[in-house]
Subunit: 394 residues, 2 copies
C-alpha cells in the first residue's frame, strides 16, 4: 500500500472516530445525575431506556480511559471515564465481588451476576482506568476481578448453569478468547508468569480446540477434547467472534515474535471471510451452521456493526503483519460495506443492526448490547495501523 | 357467512390438516428406535438434529391424542402418541417430578427443568393421552404435574431466576394465559372447584393486569399491580401471544356463558391485529415496543407461523361467537397471507419463519421451537369452527 493511500485511510478513520463517533457519546451518553452512562440511544441520541447494562458501562469506561492513555491526555475524557468508574465501583458488584449483569438508572441491581463477561469487561475497564488516573483502588478492583474470573472459569455460570453435567459436556470459545485480550490489557497489573501462562492456555485452547483444521475456521463450542458435537450449539459458527479472536491471537503473537502463529491467525481471518461473506447482498452473516443446516438463531442473516469492525481490525492488522494482498482486498471490500451501511454522517455514530439486504433494521445507536466500544475501538485501531503503514505511527 | 362459503373453508382446512400437515409428521417425525419424536426436520422432512425438546415432545403427544379423542379413533394416531408418552414418562422428569427442558435422542437429560412451560405442555399431553388410552398412570402424571405448576407458579424459574428480588418486580402474562387453556384441557382430571378457581385467577390476571385499557391490547409483562414498567420487558408487546390468550379467554367465556367477556376478548383480538399488522409487507410482527422504541429482540419484524395460526383461530372463534364482520374480514386477510407464505404444498407442513418481506427465512418444517402443534391445532380448530358455521358442526 502506498504511503499516500495509507495516509488517506488514516484520516478517514481518525475523522470518523473524533468527528462523528466520540462526539455522539460525549454529548448524549453521560448520566451526570446518577453517574454511569445511558447506552440506549436512538438515531438522534435521545435516551429511550435508562437501564445500565454492566457490559456496556464497563466498556465505555475502557474506551474513554484508553483514549486518554493512548491518544491524548484530555481531561474531559478522564472525567467521562471517572463518571462510569465511580458508579460501577459503588453499585456494580455483589458482596463476593461478582459483577451484576444489569443495574437500574440509580444503580440498584436488576440482574444477578450470572454472566462472567460482565466481570471480564469490568477487569478491562478498571485496569485501563487505573492506568489513566493512577488509582490503586481501581487497579485492585481490576486484579481481584481478574483472579475471580480465573477461579470461576470452568463453571462460568455457577448456579445458573442449565446444562446437565455429564450428558454432553462442551466448552465455549468466548471465554478463552476474551481472556487472551484481557490478559494483554492487564499486563501491567499481573506478574509476568501469570501473563505468559494464561496466554499459553488461551492459545492452546483457541488454536488447538476451537480451530477446525479441515475448514480452517473456528467453532463456537466444542467437546472438552476439541471434538465436534452434532447439536445446534456444537455446529454454531460465529464469524465475527472467529475473526475477533484471531486479531487477539495476532496481538499475542506479535508480542512474542511468533511468526507462525501470525500466519495461522491471518489465514483463519481470510478463511472466515470467505465462509461468512454474503455473496448475494454483501456483509458478513451473524450466525451460521457448520453443516449448512438451519441455525437456531432467527437473526442469523443480519449484519451487525461489531462483526464488521472486528473484520476491519483483523484484516488491517493482518496486512500490516504479513503484507498479504488478500488482506487489503478484503479490507477494502468490508470498508466499503461498513461505511456505506453502518456509518451515519447525519447524526454521528454507527447504526448497529442491518437486515440481510443491508437496510437499517433498528434505527438505534446504542441499546442493551451496543454501546461506546466496538466502533471507537475499531476505528482507533485501524487509524493506528494506517499511521504505521504511512510511516508516522507509534 | 354463507353456508357454502363456510363449507368451502372447512374443506380447505380439513384438507390442509389431513393431506399436507399430518402426513408430514406421520412419515418423518417418529423415532421408532428410541421413542419420542424428531422435530428438527428440513423442508423435505430430513432430520437435521436429533435432540428432543420437551415442549415439542409433549405437544406432539397432545396433537395425536387430541385427534384420536376428538376426530376419529384411528389406532395409528394412538400409537404415535404412545411412542412419545412412553419416552417422556421414562425420561422427561427429574426426581422431583419437574420436567427437563431438553433430552438427547436416547432420553438422557441435557437441560435442567428451568422452564415451567415444559411442565405445562407435559400436563396437557398426559391429560389428553390419558383420555385417549384410559391409562391411570397418564392421568396421574397429568394431575401431579398440574399441581406442581401451581406450586411453582409464583417463582417459575426457581433457582435459575436471574432477576434480583425487590428492585423491579414484574409478572409475565405467559403463565396465567397458558393456565387458562391448561385448566380447560384438564377439566376431567380436576375437581370443579379447582377448575373454577383457577379460571377465575386467570381471567383476573389476563384481563385485569395485562390488558391495557387505553391501548386495548395486552402487555407481556407488568408490575405486580398491573402498572406499566418503562424497561425493555415492560414495554414488550407480543401480538401473537395477545391474540392466543384471547381465544383461550373466549373458550372460558363460552363455557361460562359470559357474553361480556366474549365481547371484550374479540375486541382485543381486533385491536391487536390493527396494532401488529405490517401495513407495508403484510403479516403480523413478532415483537413490538409499546412506545414505538426499538425492541430488544432482533427478530422483531419476522413473520412466524404460530402467530398467524393463533390469529386465524381467534378470528374465526370471534366471528362464530359474535358475528362481527370485522372478524371475518381480518380472517380472510390473515388466511390469504398465511396460506400464501407459510403453507408448502410441495412437501407438506408449513414453513415456520418468514422475513419481514414474507420470504422464507429458514427452510425448515420443525426445529427447536416448531413441532407438530400450532399448525395442526390451528387447522383443526378452524375446520371445526367452519363446520359449525356450515351447520354440520359438533
Amino acid at each position: 500500500m502506498s504511503w499516500d493511500k495509507a495516509a488517506k485511510y488514516a484520516e478517514v478513520y481518525r475523522k470518523e472516530l473524533f468527528e462523528s463517533v466520540m462526539p455522539f457519546w460525549d454529548e448524549y451518553s453521560v448520566d451526570s445525575e446518577f453517574g454511569g452512562y445511558f447506552t440506549c440511544l436512538n438515531r438522534e441520541g435521545e435516551v429511550f431506556d435508562t437501564d445500565k447494562f454492566v457490559w456496556l458501562q464497563c466498556r465505555q469506561v475502557w474506551t474513554y480511559a484508553m483514549l486518554y492513555n493512548r491518544c491524548e491526555k484530555r481531561e474531559e475524557w478522564l472525567e467521562v471515564a471517572n463518571n462510569g468508574a465511580d458508579f460501577l465501583a459503588l453499585h456494580g458488584m455483589d458482596g463476593e465481588g461478582n459483577w451484576y449483569f444489569a443495574l437500574n438508572r440509580e444503580g440498584m441491581p436488576l440482574v444477578q451476576p450470572y454472566n462472567i463477561f460482565s466481570d471480564c469487561f469490568a477487569a478491562m475497564a478498571f485496569a485501563q482506568y487505573g492506568l489513566a488516573c493512577g488509582s490503586e483502588k481501581a487497579i485492585d478492583i481490576a486484579s481481584k476481578t481478574y483472579r475471580n474470573i480465573l477461579r470461576r472459569k470452568d463453571r462460568p455460570k455457577g448456579k445458573y448453569t442449565k446444562a446437565v453435567d455429564g450428558t454432553r459436556d462442551m466448552k465455549g470459545m468466548a471465554l478463552p478468547m476474551i481472556l487472551a485480550n484481557l490478559t494483554l490489557e492487564l499486563e501491567e497489573v499481573l506478574s509476568e508468569d501469570e501473563v505468559e501462562s494464561t496466554l499459553d492456555m488461551c492459545i492452546d485452547e483457541v488454536m488447538g480446540l476451537f480451530l477446525d483444521e479441515r475448514k480452517g475456521i473456528l467453532y463456537e463450542n466444542v467437546g472438552p477434547d476439541g471434538s465436534h458435537v452434532d447439536c445446534f450449539d456444537g455446529r454454531l459458527i460465529n464469524p465475527g467472534h472467529g475473526i475477533e479472536s484471531m486479531w487477539f491471537m495476532m496481538d499475542v503473537a506479535k508480542r512474542r515474535g511468533d511468526k507462525e502463529l501470525i500466519e495461522r491467525a491471518v489465514q483463519v481471518v481470510l478463511n472466515t471471510l470467505e465462509y461468512g461473506w454474503d455473496e448475494e447482498y454483501g456483509g458478513i452473516f451473524y450466525f451460521m451452521d457448520a453443516e449448512g443446516r438451519p441455525p437456531q438463531q432467527l437473526e442469523w442473516d443480519q449484519k451487525l456493526w461489531w462483526v464488521h469492525l472486528e473484520a476491519l481490525v483483523g484484516l488491517i492488522k493482518g496486512y500490516n503483519l504479513t503484507g498479504r494482498q488478500e488482506c487489503l482486498d478484503w479490507f477494502e471490500r468490508v470498508h466499503e460495506y461498513a461505511f456505506g451501511g453502518f456509518s451515519d454522517p447525519k447524526f454521528g455514530e454507527w447504526f448497529g443492526y442491518l437486515n440481510r439486504r443491508g437496510e437499517v433494521l433498528m434505527p438505534l445507536k446504542g441499546g442493551k448490547w451496543k454501546g461506546c466500544f466496538h466502533v471507537p475501538r475499531g476505528l482507533y485501531l485501524c487509524w493506528r495501523e494506517f499511521e504505521n503503514l504511512g510511516g508516522e505511527g507509534e
